[in-house]
Symmetry: C2
Subunit: 211 residues, 2 copies
């Protein structure tokens, strides 16, 4: 479970792998941020809650993504495994010690944080200004880019998670997907509603970004 891994720079940090069952919590908002994580398999949702239960998922993390890097000593969102998920866990302190002396590691920290910021900025535009159909189209294209293999996209998350990511209700998401199916833009494969083939990326993209 413990290994030593070089960080492309001569330095190395110890890290360990963990597996989380579907739905289990990885860390909670306002918990001490002791570790940084990298997804190996599965998927993670990071979200904020209001006291009455309203939830906003800020990001999904898929294999390769790094998350849990915080400024303060506390996590600012809760992280949960969407499906069975394995992660690499790196002690924050260890990482910072290495970063202190290794500019490449430090630059990677900055790059990771900046790309999270990038994503958040795009997502604010979606949440503040896009229609429900535009949101769903944007979501499908995002996931298509990140996890399509052999033309089939197998979504790890259910309609509820998608809705809470897009700032919609699950019914609205379902209706939008049904409509796209009816218009021949996507198809379902297998017997779950989570395996999707996008037939017409061009048309999806024009829904996302109306010209």
């Amino acid at each position: 479970m413990f290994t030593r891994v070089s960080m492309m720079s001569g330095s190395s940090v110890s890290l360990s792998e963990f597996t989380y069952k579907k739905g289990s919590e990885i860390f909670r908002e306002n918990e001490p941020a002791d570790c940084v994580y990298q997804v190996r398999t599965g998927a993670v949702r990071r979200y904020k809650l209001l006291s009455d239960g309203r939830r906003q998922i800020g990001a999904f993390h898929l294999p390769g993504d790094v998350f849990g890097l915080e400024n303060s000593t506390l996590h600012r969102l809760t992280a949960e495994a969407v499906t069975e998920t394995t992660v690499r866990k790196i002690s924050r302190q260890t990482l910072e010690d290495v970063a202190e002396t290794d500019a490449v590691v430090f630059r990677n920290l900055l790059t990771t944080t900046t790309s999270n910021l990038c994503h958040a900025e795009d997502h604010m535009l979606l949440l503040g200004r896009k229609s429900s159909m535009e949101r769903v189209a944007a979501f499908l294209l995002e996931m298509d880019n990140r996890l399509t293999k052999a033309g089939i996209m197998s979504l790890p998350m259910g309609r509820r998670d998608i809705a809470d990511y897009l700032g919609l209700t699950l019914e609205t998401v379902s209706r939008a997907v049904s409509q796209l199916h009816g218009e021949g833009i996507l198809n379902f494969v297998g017997n779950t509603q989570r395996e999707i083939v996008i037939l017409d990326r061009r048309r999806l993209a024009s829904i996302d970004m109306p010209s």
Copy 2:
């Protein structure tokens, strides 16, 4: 106009001050990101546009704030002066050279980026899940924290900017502010609608975060 400023660490970088007239553009989305900026006086809005004119302001930057730090070589939002604004401009290359050898400077870069991410994460919750009244209350409290002097908050931005920040229309913002005024939670002073006294922060906070 040019000065040398120590960065709390023995290093120094050259920087220069610029003034932008109300409404003028500081940089545009997808322009090369050559410089990093710090607001000295005034206010800056950073936003994204859709092709049909819908606008989402991702953040307002007030005196002291750093903005324009990007991952790639391109800016990802457009920045404009909300009012007459002066900024300090630092060459990105210079900053990176210094950061290379000075861990304190590098850490400041990371801290700045992370606090921008922090703000974006809070704002996604607002945009995705809060009602119009909750958004306006949250906005007033945010601005109150950041720029109230002597009990009076003088908003640099108009209703249109507030609306585009909150993902609402300007009419909805205006109605919410009027309602808060009618309920005795805030008052206007002077003869503009931009100078506001918050009379009851407790009540505003309970609107923002319903318990």
